[in-house]
Amino acid sequence: MHIVVCIKQVPDSAQIRVHPVTNTIMRQGVPTIINPYDLFALEEALRLRDAHGGEVTVLTMGPPMAEDALRKALTYGADRAVLLTDRYFAGSDTLATSFALSQAIAKVGETFGMPDIVFTGKQTIDGDTAQVGPGIAKRLDLLQLTYVAKIASIDLDAHEITVERRSEGGMQMLKSRLPCLITMLEGTNEIRRGSLDDALRAARSQIVKWSAADAGIEDLTKCGLRGSPTVVKRVFAPTSRAEKAAQIDTTDKSLRDLADDLIAAIFTRQPALEQELAVDGGA
């Protein structure tokens, strides 16, 4: 079985801030991480490989420094890493990104064997669109299983996979033919700590680096800024809500007093509720 996992190197959003005057994102000194959703996808792929054999290839599109993210993925235990990097890709939106990645996945298939499953994270934490996974599926004509919480079972002989998909109403059990594309949700697993052998192999292995031409991409007008119809009109930092949680002092108070304080605090915020209850109480 060959599994391709698409990952993205993103700035650690917990440490990012918006400049108060210029409203631009301050990336200076912000460390990069592998998009957390992609790690759930990677771990799921590694588990499938460990149980059923085969190989896991990680793929990313990004600047040369994205190599760090790939090397880390190798340390977790991935078998091969491919970096798609070219100045033609700069400024890609989700349309251009899914185009470039789908072409690269096709090339990965040609070079290292056709993938049975392509994994992506549900979305990235810097773009938050959740569009790239489905975009790749559409372009490669793969069946797509989005918002997958768990791989229930896989039958390689029958070319079938069964997954749990989280939806608004509850959980769906979906069965699909392989090959397919899966976008993975959070919280399903925890990325493993690679063994010493994995770490040594990762430190020594060569990352496969492909330019647009290497990946067989001919139509450069679909890449990067030229292939990206999305325009960022404005960036702003949302102001935090002024209202804060009220705190009630609990020291040296009886339960009754505490309850009274609590009710008083609620009524201060919701005067309408007090009137409503008073009417009900009177009736």
Partner: protein, 435 residues
Amino acid sequence: MTAEKFDAIVIGAGMSGNAAAYTMASRGMKVLQLERGEYPGSKNVQGAIMYADMLEKIIPDFREDAPLERHPVEQRFWMMDNTSHTGMHYRSDDFNEAKPNRYTIIRAQFDKWFSRKVREAGATVLCETTVTELAHDTNGKVIGVRTDRAGDIIFADVVVLAEGVNGLLGTRAGLREMPKPETVALAVKEMHFLPEEVIGERFGLKGNEGCVIEAAGTISRGMTGLAFLYTNRESISLGIGCLVSDFASTMESPYALLEAFKRHPSVRPLIAGSEVKEYAAHLIPEGGYKAIPQLFGDGWLVVGDAAQLNNAVHREGSNLAMTSGRIAGEAIFHVNSRRNPMTKENLALYKTMLDNSFVVKDLKKYKDMPALLHTNSCNFFMTYPQLISQAAQNFLRVDGTPKIEKEKATTAAFIKARSRWGMVSDVVRLAFAWR
């Protein structure tokens, strides 16, 4: 996978570890370096000032691509009381040379660069890998390490311990004792971000010129300590450190000292309007010559902070670390190239070479200083700074008091605080410790 063997394993990817790994790998040895942090420098807190000479001896053309911040052209030393500072400033255009003598650096970036050089030299570097144990043979010789990753012992002819000031590995293995509270300082540091031009204006700097302030006095509240403020390109590193034993006995908290230092009227305008990005704390070895542990044994040697190689008087640490790492690498290469075993006898070469370098010579010169400053901390860090500040103010304030009376008042204040004999004794002891 069959067990793999290396010529040398280096534990830690700070200054000393990188220097050792680079020295050996660039001479063709098969080197594995293990770092517990997410990346080299991720655990580092140093100020930091980097001295060019010691790095030139390892990577001569480092200026071409190393991430250097500013080269200091001005050094200020401040004696502080609560509202004033008495300063000694040295500024020279001579520091604007083609190859400056020292630079401010940000270790997180610098160490990444250094580590890249180590990898380019051919070493294998694993991060997020903690060495949990040294592996010994039946004779007690160190033959490799175990890590917190699943897998066997990794074997090596020699293990270089560059694990930092409170390296648990060496102390657990009984190679040296835990540093004592009176021989380590606890330093806290913040990074304050300001636009490059603002830093230039506030400190009177152009281009990559930098300014360094080091301050002692009542800011350490009678404890043996030092505060610092270094200019980087777009940030200011500032912090304060005091002996751990002093923190323990005074019950002062490091962050409170740092807050007070930042609020001091001499410091506040320098960092006004800045954005704080990082708060970090670390230990610094301060024991000097007398705290240096056994430096080598069968199959191992220890370098840098782990070996307590830090010159507290001159605030030099990373250059001693780099130099000890380089010398360790050279000594190991010497033994390796003659195909000799890495025994205690053969590795003694490291100590001989280190003794002949500035590292041990400098530490020897100040061997009595740590004890003197520790026992007399209140005089040196509280009484004298206050007296000097009062004397300066007395001298400058013109209020109709005859000068002769002013001088008498100043002299009387000194005698009252320390007595004639006390002052003579302080001067003599300081002079002896300095000698």
